[in-house]
């Protein structure tokens, strides 16, 4: 019999289950992984260096492009760090809007995660269902910011504009006939808030549908249960955050423990797992979607009752309204200075973190008093998760690598930055 040797297998960077541009060099003994060496950086754009060459506000758009499936949460982390340094706080209404959109984003992220994860593991239908709901939420993004993905909606001192009173309607075109347009426009008669509320009423049944398909599914369980087990101690050591940490049974959620925006005003629970395997993390994220849905509902209620300003009034930092610029010299000067130079941050450093759908997303800003950051460091949860890849996959089969990439919820925009 010939001698059996370990061999090296290249996984990616163009593998459909690699969630982007991950190149994994796997050392295998038969079908069992001995060592996994992830090669990342194929999507490295130098966001942090680019930010050093731009006034603060111009980098908000870069934040969307970090984790490009949870856009507004990234913006929130960056904007919070700026606000901390500036010593300003957004108006309450803006903070409620942020809270609501953070949760909409969380659902968006988890929907993509569950769609892609299930697709990797072999359940095609999930992907189609998840994208059906994502469509509605991206329409909400579009209604408030004009962009379906890269919104650039948050600003230091508030949000770019208040929620619009009407929801944009579909129109008949070559691709959609009258009957289809009528169906699509059924929920869009009212304001954006009406549409969001309608969505929150529909969404729990959708989640039930996902659960019917997956939770007790024999194949799903065979592929997920006891795969990629992380003990609580190891989870802390490896720097895992978010659902990766909660799946291991540690009750830690920045929204509860170090509340920002309006999270101390809304009611929600933190789901935790017990075994720390992929299946527990799946259950945690499913429950997070339900909790997010509740938070959105509470925010909608509050936002209906409390109109008001959504932007900080200090026009040394925030743009004055367009109408004012037409008649007020002072406002025009503010606009000019902000557009050509931006604002200067006081000298110092700050770190602000938020509970991103994937874990702890933080921005560390060092300022020397200039209108551009001296150093911006983005702490991306996916980066720490990716570094745990070797430990998680060791001893598993090749097919489980796909499950583990899925359960870590990797997006390369943020890992590579």
């Amino acid at each position: 019999m010939s001698e059996i040797k370990n061999f090296t297998l290249n996984f990616g960077p163009a593998h459909p289950a690699a969630h982007g541009v991950l190149r994994l060099v796997l050392e295998m003994d038969g079908e069992v992984i001995q060592r996994a060496d992830p090669h990342i950086g194929l999507l490295h754009r130098g966001t942090e260096k680019l930010a050093e060459s731009k006034p603060y506000n111009q980098s908000i758009g870069y934040m969307d492009r970090l984790d490009y499936v949870s856009m507004m949460c990234n913006e929130h982390g960056y904007v919070l760090a700026l606000e901390k340094m500036l010593g300003i706080e957004a108006p309450v209404r803006a903070q409620y809007i942020r809270t609501m959109f953070d949760e909409i984003t969380r659902i968006l992220n988890h929907l993509l995660w569950i769609g892609a994860h299930a697709l990797d593991v072999g359940a095609m239908t999930m992907f189609l269902y998840a994208f059906r709901e994502r469509e509605d939420l991206m329409d909400v993004y579009e209604a408030v910011s004009g962009a379906r993905l890269h919104a650039t909606y948050y600003r230091p001192g508030g949000v770019y504009r208040d929620l619009p009173d009407t929801m944009p309607l579909h129109e008949t075109s070559r691709w959609t006939d009258d009957a289809e347009v009528k169906r699509l426009n059924k929920n869009r008669g009212g304001s954006v808030l009406d549409f969001i509320e309608d969505f929150t009423n529909r969404f729990p049944t959708y989640v039930d549908e996902y659960e019917t398909l997956l939770t007790d599914n024999r194949i799903w369980k065979q592929r997920l249960v006891d795969i990629g087990i992380v003990s609580p101690e190891r989870a802390l050591q490896l720097g895992l955050t978010g659902a990766m940490l909660r799946g291991s049974g540690i009750e830690w959620d920045l929204r509860k423990k170090q509340p920002y925006a309006m999270y101390d005003q809304v009611d929600f629970d933190i789901p935790v797992g017990t075994n720390g395997d992929s299946y527990d993390r799946y259950l945690v994220r499913i429950e997070e979607m339900r909790q997010s849905n509740n938070i959105i509902k509470q925010c909608v209620d509050w936002l209906r009752k409390n109109p008001g300003s959504v932007m900080h009034e200090d026009h040394k930092i925030t743009q004055p309204p367009r109408e004012k610029m037409k008649g007020d010299m002072e406002a025009l000067i503010h606009h000019f200075k902000l557009a050509t130079e931006g604002y200067c941050l006081p000298e110092g450093e700050a770190y602000a973190a938020i509970e991103h759908p994937k874990g702890e997303f933080g921005c560390y800003i060092v300022s020397d008093g200039a209108n551009k950051p001296y150093r911006l460091k983005v702490r991306a949860p996916g980066f720490a998760h990716m570094s745990a890849m070797d430990e998680l996959t060791k001893g598993h089969m090749l097919a489980d690598v796909v499950t583990i990439i899925g359960t870590m919820d990797i997006v390369f925009g943020e890992v590579d930055r």
Partner: protein
């Protein structure tokens, strides 16, 4: 929050006297500064001490202080200058500029989180040697330091003693230089393209010129209170 940080600060100043070069509470965040020699022992203490319990390393980040406080547009004098002057020309004499720098150029900033006590701390450590910056690796204390240190090495060229696998991580295979250093131009040094004649991908010097769209300005008429609140 701030009160708890003060308690932690005085606790650390008591126990780690002599090892902490500076400790500041600013913006509700505690920063302590240690020398590279003390980094390991202080880190170990922060992880294991009952009042600290920083069981998680959140982030390690390198900082290059080469151009700290420098501007491209002078605003202190009377009138306005219209020209943008760039402090670093990046025309080959960047090494000279870097050599002229006095003071410690590279710092390693570590963010720690205690889930037990729900508190954070920032650990700052300036490297002694500007040409050969090195600190001890924290990988043995917090395993998550592994990749963060590789990143800091890749981006800034900071070496971590005792790191098991200090390779480049984010830049391309065969990349030269450390891109986040302040004397590394934003546009980089090389372009990559496919050459029709040689039938392969080739590297050549950059063909574009770096532009400043918005000059870097420091306004002395600071509208905001300084970020450092002092020790009150």
């Amino acid at each position: 929050m701030s009160k708890l940080l003060q308690v932690l600060k005085s606790h650390l100043e008591g126990v780690l006297a002599g090892k902490i070069q500076q400790s500041v509470v600013a913006l509700n965040e505690l920063t302590i500064e240690v020398s590279p020699d003390d980094l390991l022992s202080v880190s170990l203490f922060l992880r294991d001490d009952n009042a600290c319990c920083f069981e998680q390393l959140i982030d390690i980040c390198g900082v290059d202080y080469l151009t700290y406080g420098e501007t491209e547009w002078d605003t202190s004098g009377s009138g306005f200058s219209r020209g943008v002057k760039r402090e670093f020309s990046f025309d080959g004499d960047e090494q000279d500029e870097a050599n002229k720098f006095e003071g410690k150029r590279f710092a390693v900033v570590v963010h720690l989180l205690s889930i037990e006590h729900n508190q954070r701390i920032r650990l700052k450590c300036y490297c002694d040697d500007n040409d050969f910056p090195r600190v001890n690796s924290l990988q043995g204390i917090w395993n998550s330091a592994n990749w963060f240190e590789r990143e800091a090495f890749d981006m800034f060229g900071i070496l971590f003693d005792g790191h098991p696998d200090l390779r480049r991580i984010l830049t391309d295979y065969g990349f030269i230089g450390h891109p986040f250093r302040k004397d590394f131009p934003l546009i980089g040094h090389v372009d990559m393209r496919y050459d029709e004649e040689q039938k392969r991908v080739i590297y050549e010097s950059v063909s574009i010129e770096e532009r400043t769209l918005v000059p870097r300005v420091i306004r002395k008429d600071q509208r905001f209170t300084p970020a450092v609140e002092g020790d009150e």
